[in-house]
Symmetry: C2
């Protein structure tokens, strides 16, 4: 399941061939390295006049030991460009974006980061401010497509009163953990932040349930949550028993063999989780592809049941019985197919769109209980499933994104871990794509 093309283009000969022929040039992406600083170089921090986030961001970057610069010094290359755009109140004020990004664009290091901070349009008073803040999205998505070399770009809308709550999100976005996340719009709500005692082990003392944990994205999630300190309960169907046991052993967690489509699965799950859980990752999923004209009812029913009704049942059991409570984190694994639809996947896309609906509709009620619920939506991820795709389709999926390559299961897992962190308590009801800013969307 390796990307042999990307391996080749990262050799000396490969680089020459790519340059001469003008071929796609997938960079080697910076990924999480426990000892490494947050960004691969100094962080250039700018702001439109009147912004409210410059000071809190500077403070948190200082605390994290980051080298923060307020101006471009000749020849300095930056690990990240952060711009506080909350001071932009109308369309004329958007000029501040050009004034910051035009001279700084070429200074960004490979796998560097661009983060624009704004106020969500729906939280702006005047329509002119809402219009200008909404415009930021066009800039950020264009920069994501323009900068290349593994540089990611995100727009983070921080609610008034959420200034102290952005640390978890900003750390994630600057770090190698967000290697394959780009072109996203993330909302950080108001409220106090619960900073973990140790940012390298934010899940210490937490219990995390991961469904579909025997393989692929689920197994990677079990590993990353365990690395971040969680005690992992790895769940999968009995047929995946051996692989599941291997994962559970590797992460020093517990294996739980359970078919979530069985009528008594809720009861059995509850019986296994008597101590409760802090984190639930709904990763278990199946595909049964056919056009709807050729699809039998069993394909429709099973895909809807596993991918959508399953997470609904688990949430109900856990929430109603108090097995997940204040500080709880629920993360669903959606899909680009659930956003954009896909030929031959009416069942899967319906289920995954429903999962997005579940996240959006349950967030307000769960917020009252101190629980967040979010979804990640993977794009082209290098797994056993994508390795079996026809070569042309696979190459198109791999290259048609701003990273010119597929993501790895760990990229999805890192994104889940950020949403699962105690520090992400004001991020809820959102869907974050892990797709390298795939061209494909809705």
């Amino acid at each position: 399941m390796g990307d042999t093309y990307a391996s080749f283009t990262n050799t000396g000969l490969g680089r020459t061939v790519v340059r001469r022929l003008g071929l796609p040039d997938p960079p080697r992406l910076r990924r999480h390295d426990p000892g490494a600083p947050l960004a691969p170089g100094p962080v250039l921090l700018g702001a439109a006049p009147g912004g409210r986030l410059g000071c809190p961001v500077r403070d948190l970057l200082d605390r994290a030991g980051t080298d923060v610069r307020g101006a471009i010094a000749g020849g300095t290359r930056h690990g990240a460009l952060i711009f506080d755009a909350t001071g932009i109140l109308d369309s004329a004020g958007l000029r501040a974006l050009y004034d910051f990004f035009h001279p700084a664009a070429r200074s960004v290091l490979g796998s560097g980061r661009v983060v624009v901070l704004g106020t969500a349009p729906e939280l702006c008073g005047p329509a002119r401010e809402a219009t200008a803040q909404r415009a930021l999205e066009g800039l950020v998505r264009s920069i994501g497509k323009e900068f290349g070399r593994g540089v990611t770009a995100q727009l983070v809308y921080v609610a008034p009163g959420g200034e102290e709550a952005i640390e978890s999100t900003l750390r994630f976005l600057l770090s190698g953990r967000s290697a394959y996340v780009s072109g996203q719009v993330i909302r950080v709500g108001a409220g106090p932040a619960t900073a973990p005692a140790d940012w390298d082990r934010p899940l210490a003392g937490k219990a995390a349930l991961v469904t579909g944990a025997a393989r692929g994205i689920g197994a990677a999630t079990a590993r990353v949550l365990a690395r971040d300190g969680a005690e992992v309960i790895a769940l999968d169907v009995p047929a995946a028993g051996d692989a599941l046991a291997d994962v559970a052993n590797e992460v020093r967690g517990r294996a739980l063999q359970l078919d979530l489509t069985a009528p008594d699965s809720g009861e059995r799950l509850a019986a296994h989780l008597t101590g409760g859980v802090d984190v639930v990752v709904h990763n278990a999923g199946i595909t049964r592809d056919k056009t709807i004209a050729r699809m039998d009812a069993a394909r429709w029913d099973s895909v809807l049941d596993v991918n959508l009704a399953g997470p609904e049942r688990i949430n109900d059991v856990l929430v109603e019985r108090g097995l997940i409570g204040d500080g709880g984190r629920i993360v669903g694994v959606a899909s680009i197919a659930g956003i954009a639809g896909n030929r031959g996947q009416t069942n899967y896309a319906t289920a995954k769109a429903g999962l997005i609906g579940l996240v959006q509709s349950c967030a307000p009620d769960l917020a009252g209980r101190g629980i967040t619920i979010n979804a990640v939506a993977p794009g082209f991820i290098e797994t056993a499933m994508t390795a079996r795709m026809p070569v042309l389709l696979r190459e198109a999926g791999r290259r048609m994104n701003s990273m010119a390559q597929g993501g790895l299961p760990i990229d999805v897992a890192e994104t889940i871990a950020w949403l699962a962190s105690p520090g992400s308590g004001t991020v809820t009801g959102t869907v974050v794509r892990v797709c390298g800013q795939s061209l494909v969307g809705a």
Copy 2:
């Protein structure tokens, strides 16, 4: 600016070549024909039990002289499949979609229509209902990608109390006017409908201002609004004077030469519109492409000024002076670049994303004055601009959508005319793509 490939594939020899080589097969799309029935064949109408839209939809289709069927009769081919999904209250209920679409999928005629009617998730009470209603989007977008042959698929969320207001939208979606609109989610709000006296001339007696009217989408819009009965004021810069005069003469309207970036343009516009206007189409737009690293400030400023500040200024003048009032319709022309971002278009994408923000943020206040504001977002449209694109880029843009071809300026114009209709008074704050369900999105 013709699509010679599509012309070729619609010949006898072309069809053979396409079939033998497995090439993209762009169908000839059904477009508006004054004498033709709404749909190209009988309409199959289905519903999940408990739906609230079956009866009003059946009534309006009957009034429109449409042949409505309640069940599949062997061998009947349908011009449209309409499914009322408002009765679906949870994920188990989604099975009704399969039960309707599985047997009906193959019965849809070329350039036929699929319309699913639902309740917007944010208007659903229980989270389970909101989840299921959100899931509809995955089905519709998949069907749009699956059915081919010029068949479009849309999801229309009808607010409770909006049952009588859907006629304008449903007529548009069934007709050839919506030839290049697919995969869209449209919200029809609550409220009474103002049916035009004559559905073929819904804009009779209305005055419509179209900016950038000398060419392309603007000229097509002037023609379509005039065809629908409007008295058109065609506005463009003085440099486009001859072309503008031609368009104005053709539609028996008035030409108005005005540079909207001039400081006194607001005053001058108001002086010309003393009688007021009913419809305003913000179509005037420019591109000045460069990566942000290479872009000079003039390129940034002019694109932001024309594409975003211009519409803001015009709206202000018209609304504050009461030159547009109750029953008014404002339509902006956005762009896929404003949704997904684009390399080399930080300025344009920022402006167009801002235009989307303008529509969304002004809608509530304008609704209080009886005015709607919406945007259309064209994808790949065959114009003089796209004719100048490099051939490979142009072919990719043309084929990477569910219609396997570029749209025509008239497709955008028809969509604008639907939003401008008196019957569309409860559709506001929305962005409708005219992109043939382009693969590209956010």
